[in-house]
Amino acid sequence: MATIEQPTERKVVVKEMSWDPITRIVGSLGIHTEIDFTNQHVLKCYSTSMVFRGFDIFMKGIDPRDAHFITSRICGICGDNHCTCSCLNQNMAYGVKPPKLGDYAYNLAESADFMFDHAIFNDCMANVDFCEQMVKETNPTLLKTAEQTPAPHGDIHGYKTIAEIMRALNPFTGSFYLETLQVARYTREMYCLFGGRHTHPSTIMPGGVSADITHQTCTDYYVRLMRYIEYAKRTVPMHDDLYDFFLEQLPGYDMVGYRDTDLICWGCFDDPEYVDYSYRGMTEWGRHRYITPGLVFKGELVSTDLVEINLAIRILLGSSYFDDWSSEETFVDKDPLGNAVDKRHPWNKVTLPRPQKRDWADKYSWVVSPRMYDKRNDSYVACDTGGGPFARQWVTAKAGLVDIGYLKATGTSLQMVLPRTASMPEMELEWKIPEKSNAIERDRARSYHQAYSALVGLHCLEKALVEIRAGRTKSWNSFTVPSEAVSVGFHEAARGVLSHHMVIREGKIANYQPYPPTPWNANPRDVYGTPGPYEDAVQNTPIFEENGPETFKGVDIMRAVRSFDPCLPCGVHMYTGAGRVRKVQHRPTGLS
């Protein structure tokens, strides 16, 4: 007998949830969302930052040689990346090339910074979202499974089950968390050997490095580096075990933090044999970097040419507390090669702050909205940096240009060989370009990048020792500041692309525009309504947390946001307790 059921109404509960500040990142970030708790997914996300300082305003008119000292202070964790980027920029403006030892010293300092930054961010900040305490509070069922699941690489890293890995990541009690705090110290000692201080260095200069580099400097670096390589041998398989467990146990977890593969990487670690820092030669020397620059639209590597990439950068407004600059002066209409430069390019950007009330429907952030112009279809693409390592490895692997023996890009993967260390044999690692751009793959790439950075450090150290043993200990060349110049520095901060654009007039800074990774990732909706990458990635995130709206922690959203390694000198806060009910919709669900 057939029965016909009446159409029933299903209640869809949508709540506003906010997290501001978001902790375990650097800087002020707020994430404001609307979540559909009935269907377990995020409907809307707004990303906001509450801090404005105005570097590009107060740098006008200063001596360009002060730029690296000042811009370092933009960020407390990638300050040294800013400093280095500014020096690359100034080298272009002044036409100076450091001695090879100076170039290697830039690389040795920066690779140590990546080793530090990826270690502390992965295991003392982001992976706290995967620790036992957090999983117990958000997915207790999953924790039970983890107790029963053997870790596939337990023989290498020493943790027998997945739950043991999670316990090792508990803040201030877990063994791996505590070990990583120590690792994050001796890697900064490595940085200080060349940079003097971390995070605002005192020896990284235009023209080279003012550290007095001796055999002792290299010995002190070498012993710490080998200790780190041994740590990386345990770190990578441990993270693989943890992340694979989430993907296997929670089908669909690969949609957490998912977005299209629209990536940018400016490349870094110049090869002293090729780099001359000139704009004219930038296409060529850019491709010789140990991390390849590249622009990726929808999973296609469309360029590795830094000049082409430079000309495609646009700064848009839309939801930011700034006025438009279209009626302001144009600083650069042609680049040094004669190519046309857009009014919305950083060289022509003028910063005009207009503080005002926060309004989600209008202006709601101090972050602007950088986009990459896609000339093929006249569109502005919200590219992300994948938190740094994801884009760097994606582009480098795909381009297939890097080959330093123990580090090789194959076109589909990166092959790395880690040398024998005190208590572990040689180890081979291979990172393959993943199908999706999502939270887990960003985190996994960061782990592999610890090994990658260590190998770049090892290569540069061996080359630096060749220089020192041959008596070539000079690491700095003098220069003069020209009265007029147009220049750019392209570099990578640990968490992704970093560029500094400068215009010099009458020997002083006429315009200085730094674009760190976070404006690319954390930006609000632009003038065309296109959301920024955090917003986009969170809006695609399904909810796997077992808590309902009353005790909701938002761990899946946190994993999505933290996978980008935010550094807003920002945060996401939960200001309405259990969430304010935004609307209750009644939708007929039809026949059941």
Partner: protein, 359 residues
């Protein structure tokens, strides 16, 4: 067995819970918090785990390391405002913008006002909490004196915490703002002062002695030059002419060390490694109230520095150098004559029972 007390009233002082509310949301880069994670004397975990006998239990609320997020994290600030956290130390990192000049906007905020959905400014939090705190600490040059965001032509009117609260301001326990300058502050300087203040709250140490710029005297009593390992080159009039492998005194290349109060040459940067002049960097005066404006451009020698540098280079320095070089060549580098492998003993000792080989 009777419990031994290693410090007076250990049982009681260890029962105290001191909260540390570390606000990173001044106009800052959070470089001080990041640097703090590299401290080793003491380390962050040393403080949390209570490394010194008698020290009160410490709970640190800092958003770079906090487990909690959003409302769960910010609750401590509301609790402190309502007197539920006592005692607590308020740390401010970053300078304070002038929020009187920006209409309905904000320069920097922390948390959101539930009533109107607008950010609560960092300045408003300082107003709410400073008079309830047992001690107020400004960490880093931005918070102490204004620093980089307070440069000439800045759009925010940035200032340091003593500029905001007033230089005569005192906490309810009678302490001025404790200033730990540096850009960023030297990591151990931060954790050591924090430990000191916690011991002070437990009654185990007197109030920290501060100078007229509110710096702890034991950390900022000497200049960079007075503890620099290159200062001897200055004395001998020996000055570096380029950065890098020239390991002589850096004053002519812009080093401000002779007139800057800072202990980095003694303490190094991380666990004794690094530190500006220790590895060849100029001192750019980042701990000083006049930083950065009074020291730019950083890579040029300060004009006033020539008055002492020139006599050192051309008058007494060469004399010292010659005299000491002579002393090294003619005395220090000479071994005494009795160190030899000849067929005799010439040390001055008169042996009674020795025999020659083969005799």
């Amino acid at each position: 067995m009777a419990t031994v007390e290693f410090v007076p009233n250990q049982q009681q002082t260890e029962q105290i819970t001191a909260h540390v509310l570390w606000m990173t949301t001044g106009l800052s880069c959070e470089g001080d918090s990041v640097a703090m994670t590299s401290a080793t004397n003491p380390s962050l975990e040393d403080i949390i785990q209570g490394i010194i006998p008698g020290m009160p239990r410490v709970v640190i609320h800092n958003q770079v390391v906090a487990y909690e997020v959003g409302q769960e994290y910010i609750q401590a600030w509301y609790d402190a405002e309502q007197g539920k956290l006592d005692p607590f130390v308020l740390i401010v990192e970053g300078s304070l913008g002038n929020e009187k000049i920006n209409g309905e906007g904000h320069w920097t905020g922390f948390g959101v006002n539930p009533a109107d959905g607008q950010p609560i400014t960092t300045n408003a939090w300082v107003d709410r909490l400073a008079n309830k705190a047992a001690a107020v600490v400004a960490i880093g040059t931005c918070a102490t004196y204004g620093g980089i965001p307070a440069m000439k032509n800045n759009p925010t009117g940035a200032m340091g915490l003593p500029d905001y609260l007033g230089w005569k301001w005192r906490s309810r326990a009678g302490l001025p703002v404790v200033c730990i300058p540096g850009c960023p502050a030297q990591p151990d300087n931060m954790t050591e002062v924090l430990l000191y203040l916690v011991l002070h709250l437990g009654g185990l140490a007197p109030a920290p002695e501060l100078d007229d710029q509110l710096r702890p005297k034991w950390l900022f009593g000497r200049t960079v030059h007075e503890s620099c390992n290159r200062a001897g080159f200055y004395e001998e009039g020996n000055f570096a002419t380029e950065y890098g492998s020239d390991h002589r005194c850096l004053v002519k290349l812009g080093c401000e060390g002779p007139v800057v109060k800072c202990n980095v040459p003694v303490r190094g940067w991380v666990n004794g490694i690094g530190g500006c002049p220790n590895v060849g960097g100029i001192c750019m005066a980042c701990t000083m109230p006049g930083f950065p404006d009074n020291y730019m451009p950083f890579m040029d020698e300060a004009p006033k520095a020539k008055t002492t540098q020139i006599p050192a280079q051309y008058i007494y320095g060469p004399l010292y150098r010659w005299a000491r070089g002579w002393e090294i060549r003619h005395n220090g580098d000479k071994e005494p004559a009795w160190r030899h492998n000849r067929n005799e003993l010439t040390t001055g000792y008169q042996p009674k029972n020795y025999a020659r080989k083969g005799a």
